[in-house]
């Protein structure tokens, strides 16, 4: 991760990683989640769901920061985010591997 200014408490901050869950068959293809994901984790898929819409799929699973914006912006209650399992036990420092 690149910083404009190096934060003083950089060692203490950890970036959470989320896991996106999509109920594909609830989706009506509005694309709100794809449009407003700040990390471009999601994209519209080519496949059809049971209602004939294109649901989103997780394009960049590692980029998800567990911000829950897609969950809040879904009018169909079809998407939600959880904290990744391994991170619940040990949070990874933000500057992992960049020093």
């Amino acid at each position: 991760m690149k910083f404009w200014r190096k934060p003083l408490d950089l060692d203490k901050i950890t970036v959470p990683h989320g896991e996106v869950h999509i109920f594909k068959d609830r989706c009506k293809g509005c694309a709100f989640c794809v449009e407003y994901c700040p990390k471009d984790v999601l994209d519209m898929s080519e496949e059809f769901n049971i209602k004939g819409y294109h649901p989103p799929y997780v394009k960049n699973p590692d980029d998800c920061l567990e911000c829950h914006l897609c969950e809040m912006l879904c009018p169909e209650f079809a998407i939600f985010v959880t904290l990744k399992e391994e991170e619940k036990s040990a949070k990874v420092p933000i500057n992992k591997g960049e020093k």
């Binding site: 068959d25 009506k28 449009e35 809040m72 939600f80």
Partner: protein
Amino acid sequence: MEEPTKAIKEIHPDPSATSGVHPMENLLRMERMPHIWCPTCGIGLAVTAFTAALTKANIDTNKMSIVSGIGCTGRVAGYVKLDSFHTTHGRPIAFGTGIRVANPGIKVVVFSGDGDLIAIGGNHFIHAARRNIDMLVICVNNFIYAMTGGQVAPTTPLAAYATTSPYGCVEPPFNIPYIADSAGAVYVARWTTLHVRRLTNSITEALQKTGFSVVEVISPCGMYYSRINRLGDGLDMMRFYHDNVEIRNGEDTKNLDIGFQTKIICGKFVDRERPSYMERYNQWLSEVKGARGEG
């Protein structure tokens, strides 16, 4: 091209199989999903914000009742898992007033649309605000009567088209926060469906208030308002909100008129204290009982 049904079967061997439980499912009637709202409609977002706020506000949801009127937003009561009532057109505030006055232990939420609350229910709206009935009103404003197919509403901006204003709307629209403020509401805020986090915070705050609180939610109507006015779909409306919303907390509610595709001012405008109806009523009651020596 491959047959769609076959493709679906390949991708989803069991359509009912889902990965986990959505965190809002305990507050929603999932057996009724999918809901009736069109793709790119914003009412679902207002419900999402409301359910998120219920979790956040940490209040006893058993002691809550949600009342809706008629219209697209009128269906909200049927999807939220509280003691919910789907009542007549324009009268949810009156119905909720009865609930609140008869049992002051119940927190009443009225969730309805602009046509329902401001047109046919306008009188109940201003009188409930005047009395300061302890009630949260969430008014989803999509600028149009959508359930009946896109007729002109009291919130339709001047010059906007609707099926009953084929030459452009000639009536100036209502400014909902201004009505609520001048009639005496204690909490007035306006957000668009794009501002889900701020909307959630506002609803959470309003749920804690004692008195008549109004949260207006500007929502896209991709199927009627945007289509008739050639504004794209709901996603284009969300992009429009992104570019044209100005957040001005504490702005004088006089300045909140919405024109056709003009700047929309959002924010929390009013947050004040006023004795609610039940507070005044109980005070009067204890005075009467004291005067009569009945303790």
